[in-house]
Symmetry: C2
Subunit: 406 residues, 2 copies
Amino acid sequence: MKIIKNGDVCTPAGFAACGIKAGLKKSGNTDMALIFSETPCESAGVFTSCRFAAAPVKQCIETLKKGNKCRAVIINSGNANACTGKKGLENARKMAELTAGKLKVSSSQVLVCSTGRIGVPMPMDKISKGIEKAIASLSNKGGGEASAAIMTTDTFAKKAAVSSRIGGRNVTVAGMAKGAGMIAPDLKGLHATMICIITTDADIERGFLQKSLVESAEKSFNRITVDGDTSTNDTILVLANGVAGNRKIRQNSSDATLFRKALDYVTTQLARQVVVDGEGVTKFVTVKVEKAASEKDALKCAKTIANSLLCKTAWFGCDPNWGRILAAAGRAGASFNPDKVDLYFDKTCAVRKGMGSGIPEEKLAEIMRNEEFSVRLVLNSGKSACEVWTNDISYEYVEINADYHT
Amino acid sequence: MKIIKNGDVCTPAGFAACGIKAGLKKSGNTDMALIFSETPCESAGVFTSCRFAAAPVKQCIETLKKGNKCRAVIINSGNANACTGKKGLENARKMAELTAGKLKVSSSQVLVCSTGRIGVPMPMDKISKGIEKAIASLSNKGGGEASAAIMTTDTFAKKAAVSSRIGGRNVTVAGMAKGAGMIAPDLKGLHATMICIITTDADIERGFLQKSLVESAEKSFNRITVDGDTSTNDTILVLANGVAGNRKIRQNSSDATLFRKALDYVTTQLARQVVVDGEGVTKFVTVKVEKAASEKDALKCAKTIANSLLCKTAWFGCDPNWGRILAAAGRAGASFNPDKVDLYFDKTCAVRKGMGSGIPEEKLAEIMRNEEFSVRLVLNSGKSACEVWTNDISYEYVEINADYHT
């Protein structure tokens, strides 16, 4: 497996993309991206489980259900097209139709994603002109621009790419993602104002592609949380156009293992970038829970710690107030004996058998002054473990969210 | 029922109290309170369900289990005596013994509460001298001082008192509470760095007293959240000394109804004061959920909204970003049809049938500029309702919690 530095969604063969200004953002920044494959793609998706799923989420689901090979994804930022009723769904479908018409493909081959403010009707005149402009701007060098055009409160574009020798050919998997706030995972589905588009030139079975995406998302995007809040528009899509000409990747083959490794690399890299770019983030914190009675218990503890406002503000302040970490674990609903619990900051033991280890607070504060550190809770109640990636909560987080208008 | 303005834990007959400086707080503020009843009290308690329950919580539970009539509660702030192991429990028991010895009562008649930093050994020399000083300072005018001495990040002392004609006598119920951060409710138990002591001169059956406390806490302290975080030391105690000389209050009597009304008034007032004084709070927000399929669904939605960091920061900024409220309700795990949902800010409709009502944002922002407003989510899916009291999250919240040392 070879990591491709500065790779983007156009790195796999046969994809073009662009990022243009449709005039949806007050800031005047680019706000529309288009990804196009020269050949039809096996496609798969994972979506928010929020009851207020946005119109574009519904459009993606209904389109993927048809089983067509897709050709394009049209994405806008600056407007979520969520809580916009029947008209919103009509508009999402119209976005697919307009894109399809100009690209001369079927509208059931076009997927739609939106991100931005909830509850604002989509300005279809701007969208329509934007789509025209986007199609005229398509280029096999447009991947970087596409990843910039989907940003909202993001401060950098998120990209990753990797290539592997699979089925006799070089197969490339690449992706882009956006998301900085309203980021929180859930075991049942995917949550976050998070959009991630993965492209690959692999030739792959559709069923295995969907299964791979679900499992890969579970171990990447489903293991991050920025603010514990969740969204209406979360979408991960993968398009596989088969241009690499490899032997078709099928489940339970050695090719499948290689593909999964490449896909996992891309989803993990993108998920970590979302946390690094979390709103107002100053620190990247890995929360590990080990020796839990079950993986479910480990995950309950890790997510409760990672979402605790008191833990996150203490991390921001480099305050080694480990009592907050234990208190969060204690209310997580996991089963363990509090008198057996150990806690580490990186490799330094802060708590042994449920009590302070006696380490001077300054030693712990020193670790917390790093931009990245880990909190490792050892429950000593079983054999299960898990890892969640999160961040601190700063003044800037409050500032960004006290008045958010893209 | 008559509300007693400026009433405190010494307002019911037969109680003395005090608040003194034991030297536990760096600030030099008072940090120890003692409440003493001249006659033995029927006593009841509700406690944290956090797995890391603090030593004083264990001491209270073991003492109440003995079924003795209690005489005193000794409370310190500045140190939580949590995550302090066997030595911590010994110290909590020792606090009861020292208090009992000087008061010439049994140590199984003394309850202990602690609040402050987790994981710091209790300085027993200071505690011992403090207890001596506290006993010498007991006065039937000391209720106000007691309520000040239990504060940590609180900015005002929380008190409430009411009297009712019950069983032929004037019966008084009064209480004090502390708590500003690590405040979050849970259906199964009581959570929060919250200590609440209720005194009453009522003559009442012990079993009914405990049942009343559980039910009353469920509709008051269990309906508040400041930061969604929870604690190791939460305690509500009620002491009933019977000095009023009323006909003994028994379950299912008209006296019982009158007592419950008085108790509910005190718990509700104190719970609301905790939210008003929440760390960094600028707004008191009532989250109402109506026409839910079940009370459980209503509570899920209300608590998810009340704990959502994105909702709370938007409230702080007077940003009428109602999409965040719907998104929170949508991930709460409640069952409802998103296309039927209405949302109101006070009496102004923001969302009708899952879509923006068309009201100008400025109208909603105007409501949000008040110090108190309500958010009312009408699910139109059933007949159940609930109400939760919460607050916004401000820069000051982050400041307070980035470096907390009492």
